[in-house]
Amino acid sequence: MFKYHISNNKNLLFYLIISFLILILIYNNNLAKKTYKIISIDFNDRINNIYGFCGNESVGYLKYIKKNYNIKNNLKIYDYTVHASSAWAINNPQNKFIDNKFILLNYPEIYDIKFYNDNKGLWHKNRDIQYSKGINYIYFDLNKTNIKINGSIEIIKKSLNKEKIIHSFKINQIINNKQKIYENYLSNDLNSRWDPVYLRVKLMDKRNFKYISSISVNLKNILDINKFKIINKFENCYYVSK
């Protein structure tokens, strides 16, 4: 026979304290709600809720494509936002890659990067830059119909606390709101996973800064969607073939 430990009063107190602490653990981590959700929501739906169907890491879309198109081998995934690759959701490193089909995630149909003034002389971007091969044009978002701009813009990449000017250009003209200033620049240097890319803008008349809400740079896209056959599209997620 097993010997049961019968609680005396002292033990009862300890059990009460332990129960209280376990309740704190349950409350702190919302475990009652989570238990309910685990019971009521299917695993795949929970995955979609966490990683997004299309947007963020788009794991839901990847799984959907793999299942619906019965894909056995690996697909190349081009994600226009910077996070760890979502390849884990569908690919097996032991399999071969399919050459002529691939997936584009968070694909920007209009590849505009907006830079905002930090009021310390630098302008910081609003989204990641991936798979760009240069600049088409830039434009200014003004809170005025037009202004005279006389100055220069430097595009800077910072690595190991060292700045590198990857491109610079001068402007000396009257600019209308959203007027395109064509700047034919070809380079992959703008793409960056870790190193910050920002602008340094110098104006002769510093009072003009207050009229510029943001500076937008329209980028050349390495992967032009118009050159591929779209097999499946959901919002900014594409499954395409060459």
Binding site: F14, L21, I24, N29, K37, I38, I39, W88, P93, W194
Partner: protein
């Protein structure tokens, strides 16, 4: 088909605990006196360490995990069915241990809801788990991303993912929950107080340290837990009755060293620091020091030798020495400033560090004759020098690296520093008992 995941989680936890119930029972308690004194948690942890080593070696020598499972099934059948009558007579079951089971289930529920992977997990650790879940060979690791990174975390994950259900990946990660919870319950047993009292302290430690990020597949939690277990067993060296009869403790510690060596690159350094501190504490005999050094040497040789054998070499890109070593004096100041700026921030962010470091400081000032305090002091010094150099020589943006990794890096060794709190409480309890 709809599955009740709560039931699956419960069955998975029972399966893991069943796997951890053998094989230490086969050892003679007369030959290894530590087994006479060891608690149920200690025995479970020794079995965990044995199983970890078996799984690691099977992954390296391409032994099918099914054979390991079968071996365990036969062993469990033999011990609990054939020899069951003798077990019942000798052992009594303390049902208070169900508290541990319940906490493991609760944390596993959190895991199964949150699900998301950490950055490194998506990048390479998940692929390693998937690799072994698919019965792939050690040599094929070469096809994986970051293939020179130790793979044990993936091996452990894959085994419990595959068995018994071969279903959701997170079931494999429940093994991380089990070792995390058991290691915390184990360290508080040093206090030699009732289980219920030590359970209160353990749950408090869990409340302070637990957050889902630890279970996102990152390996910090394994390093934390194995270091905590190593600390627990090292503590036996400070007890008089284990001065001589401690062969099993040495073997356990070396097995932990082997696992840490294959879990994370930092794990190898931490165990070396622990061994150096232990040797400099002057509690070991020359023969024991020799045994420890030779053991560690074989472990390191085996790791690098077996990786070399399949063509896995450390990728020099990780170090980028050409970028790292070219710096001038302003760089030196910049890097140093960043490290000294962020280190206190991340120490403060972890409430437990905020408790254990002042306690350790108090012990260093007031109890510096205690050899356990000497051990901790030596480890503290080596560890903080190591932190400085690790971040100083990072090739990529240091600030970015610190912000992304320092929290996890500090968490790995937190397990060892909890020991300071335990020593402090041990002394206070001894004082109370004396009065």
């Amino acid at each position: 088909m709809y599955q009740n995941e709560i039931l699956l989680i419960t069955c998975e936890v029972i399966f893991i605990l069943l796997m951890l119930s053998v094989p230490v029972n086969l050892l003679s308690k007369n030959k290894y006196i530590i087994l006479n004194d060891s608690s149920l948690i200690d025995r479970l942890l020794i079995n965990f360490i044995v199983l970890s080593n078996i799984l690691l070696l099977s992954s390296i020598f391409n032994i099918q995990t099914l054979f390991i499972l079968l071996g365990y099934v036969i062993l469990i059948f033999y011990i609990y069915i054939i020899k069951s009558s003798s077990i019942k007579k000798k052992n009594e079951i303390n049902f208070s241990y169900l508290i541990i089971f319940f906490i493991i289930i609760l944390i596993s529920i959190d895991l199964s809801y949150e699900l998301f992977f950490g950055w490194d997990v998506k990048w390479h650790i998940y692929f390693k788990a998937f690799h072994f879940q698919q019965n792939q060979s050690f040599a094929n690791l070469i096809n994986l991303p970051i293939n020179d990174y130790p793979h044990f975390g993936g091996v452990l994950w894959s085994f419990f993912w595959k068995y018994p259900f071969n279903d959701y990946e997170y079931l494999g990660r429940i093994s991380y929950v089990v070792i995390y919870i058991l290691s915390i319950f184990s360290i508080t047993e040093i206090l030699k107080i009732d289980f219920l009292k030590s359970a209160i302290l353990s749950i408090l430690l869990i409340l302070i340290t637990y957050e889902y990020d630890l279970l996102s597949g990152e390996l910090d939690i394994l390093v934390f837990s194995y270091l905590l277990i190593a600390t627990k067993f090292i503590n036996y060296f400070f007890e008089k009755k284990y001065k001589k009869n401690n062969n099993l403790i040495f073997i356990i510690i070396l097995m932990i060293a082997n696992i840490l060596c294959w879990t994370k690159n930092e794990g190898l350094f931490f165990i070396i620091f622990l061994f150096i501190s232990l040797i400099l504490t002057n509690i070991l005999e020359k023969k024991q020091i020799f045994f420890l050094i030779i053991g560690l040497f074989i472990i390191i040789l085996f790791r690098y030798g077996s990786m070399e054998a399949i063509g896995l070499k450390h990728n020099p890109i990780h170090y980028e020495l050409d970028r790292t070593l070219i710096f001038n004096f302003s760089d030196f100041l910049y890097r140093t400033k960043l490290i000294f700026f962020y280190l206190p921030i991340y120490l403060i962010q972890n409430i437990l560090y905020l408790i254990v470091l002042p306690v350790l400081g108090y012990l260093i000032l007031k109890e510096n004759k205690d050899k356990r305090v000497k051990l901790m002091t030596l480890f503290l010094i080596i560890h903080f020098i190591f932190i400085y150099f690790v971040y100083f020589f990072k090739a990529v943006d240091i600030e970015f690296t610190i912000r992304n990794s320092m929290k996890g890096f500090l968490f790995c060794t937190l397990g060892f520093y909890i020991y300071a709190l335990i020593i402090y409480m041990d002394k206070k309890i001894a004082l109370i008992n004396k009065n």
